[in-house]
Symmetry: C2
Subunit: 332 residues, 2 copies
């Protein structure tokens, strides 16, 4: 009997907000492996904000996701069959197989991972793309000095949680911005940030001002919109802004920047970046992040949706901030 592979395709491009109708679940038969090929059962699928940009036709930082093809995405899983000498059944791998249950590869685009001390799913979080994103933006753009204040938005998320913890380790005051009292409590009590501002509490600028008595030297931006406006108004001279994401504007709702003149009067540096364009730092960053997770010195949290069919709704929820920590889909 031919084994079936369930996949989620991009069915249509969003007009304004994305919806579940933009996705389609299909079942396709798995072809027998050819010489040199490897088959992987995906255990976890990573859901990340950048995917929203790929759904659009328009020019973004990457080619658009083609219609009618499997949605792009990072995955971790286990080799279940191999006709490639470099892999054997039982090997754990991280790859970019996208929103599907099985991945098939000629062995390229896969990385063996060691799950002795680091859980498999962490390779999609603090020891994966989100972790390296945090590491790069903090160390290579913000480049904080001990005693400085570093602010990060979406602070309880996969990237933000790592930014603040690394900033603390660098001797900085780490201040998060997150949505809701629960997330803020987690950011301070579990992640160890010095403070966290709840942007939903309705007093963003004043609360941020109170949490940053010495102003802000480094800002790691994941959100944009009013959160960016408020933080910009707290920046000290010669501050650095690592522009990683602007999720507030992703759903067809571009948010203006109210006072760009502050970039000049405070002589700020702003640098937009995409971590996949800085592959040179990945080995060093992953080594440091893996050691911290293995030694339980880097906390992280996951929101796990069950089953491939729930990936679209989990993804849409993440765009609205309904996740709490790294959003994953568990497939096995």
């Amino acid at each position: 009997m031919t084994q079936m592979n369930r996949q989620i395709l991009l069915a249509s491009r969003p007009e304004g907000a994305a919806s579940v109708d933009n996705f389609r679940l299909v079942e396709t038969p798995l072809a027998p492996l050819q010489e040199g090929q490897v088959r992987v059962r995906n255990h976890y699928l990573s859901l990340d904000p950048y995917m929203r940009g790929r759904m659009n036709e328009s020019k973004s930082y990457a080619a658009p996701q083609p219609l009618g093809e499997v949605m792009i995405g990072g995955t971790v899983g286990e080799v279940v069959e191999s006709r490639n000498p470099k892999y054997k059944a039982g090997d754990k791998v991280v790859a970019m197989f996208g929103w599907q249950e099985f991945g098939t590869s000629d062995g390229s685009g896969m990385q063996l991972v060691d799950t002795t001390h680091v859980p498999l799913s962490a390779y999609l979080g603090p020891v994966g793309m989100p972790g390296v994103t945090a590491w790069y933006g903090l160390n290579r753009i913000i480049a904080p000095k001990a005693g400085e204040t570093v602010v990060v938005s979406a602070a309880s998320g996969a990237v933000g949680s790592v930014v603040g913890q690394l900033a603390r380790r660098a001797g900085c005051r780490a201040v998060g911005i997150a949505g809701g009292a629960d997330k803020c409590r987690y950011v301070v009590e579990t992640l160890g940030f010095d403070a966290c501002v709840d942007y939903k509490a309705g007093n963003l600028y004043q609360d941020l001002k109170a949490a940053t008595p010495d102003g802000v030297d480094g800002y790691f931006e994941n959100v944009g919109g009013e959160v960016l406006d408020a933080t910009l108004a707290r920046m000290n001279a010669f501050g650095r802004i690592a522009l990683c994401g602007m999720i507030a504007g992703y759903d067809g709702n571009p948010q203006p920047l109210k006072y760009p003149g502050l970039l000049l009067t405070q002589r700020l540096l702003v640098q937009g970046f995409i971590v996949s364009e800085h592959m040179d730092v990945w080995p060093q960053a992953l080594k440091e992040l893996g050691a911290l997770v293995a030694q339980k010195q880097l906390a992280y949290r996951e929101t796990v949706a069950e089953g491939l069919g729930n990936a679209p709704s989990a993804f849409l929820g993440m765009l609205k901030g309904q996740n709490f920590g790294k959003q994953l889909v568990k497939l096995v």
Copy 2:
């Protein structure tokens, strides 16, 4: 008989747009020189956009100009009396004596200049602060490579005119943005830019698109507002923006940035700067700029108001773009 010094003081801070009522002309007697002092008759006063920021109370990149004191500003002039062995009558100097006819100094804050091959007024323009501003933003922030496209706003002005000419010398396509057909003709025909877009012609984005067929790699910003919005939309990936001025928003009219998301999707660098904080580059920049002016390889243009009493109206006109090239006030 005691000699009198005419001075212009900041009388009040603007509410919204600045006006002539914010200034007051006074006559004060010149005290006899003390041992070590030098007296300079100012020949030209420099009027520059940054002065508008100093008129405000609010936090800017420098301390506010105190009320009731002589307006700050660069000057060039001639030593008329000296009790300092380092200076003698007839010496030409550049200094920051502000909006007044005479300056008195203990010898500090003055620089001797050689007017054999470079006209005195040029030390307030291409061989002075505006020239070094252009040099720094272009070479140290934009860092253009041959074949790239560099755009500069306020292209016929004291800074912009130097930016484009230096960009051409670096092998770049230089595109100006200026207000009016006369200025644009000058930018192309006299300054040698490859193209110039008239932002007053009502078709800014389309005209800029036509003038930048390969997109924009470096942008030197003096204006802000809709000019920044339009240029941002033409930026290529990994573009660099030297943020030098945002004159469109200076007069109590902050201009939002419509699509800050482009900073991320195009992975742009933005760096605000003030040239007085980069004194290390001045000697090299002035040497290069002085040689170019002396060899008539760097064109520049001046708008000269006559007499100290006309400084306020000339300054206000400059904020509205009524000057054509470097705005000076001739005092002798």
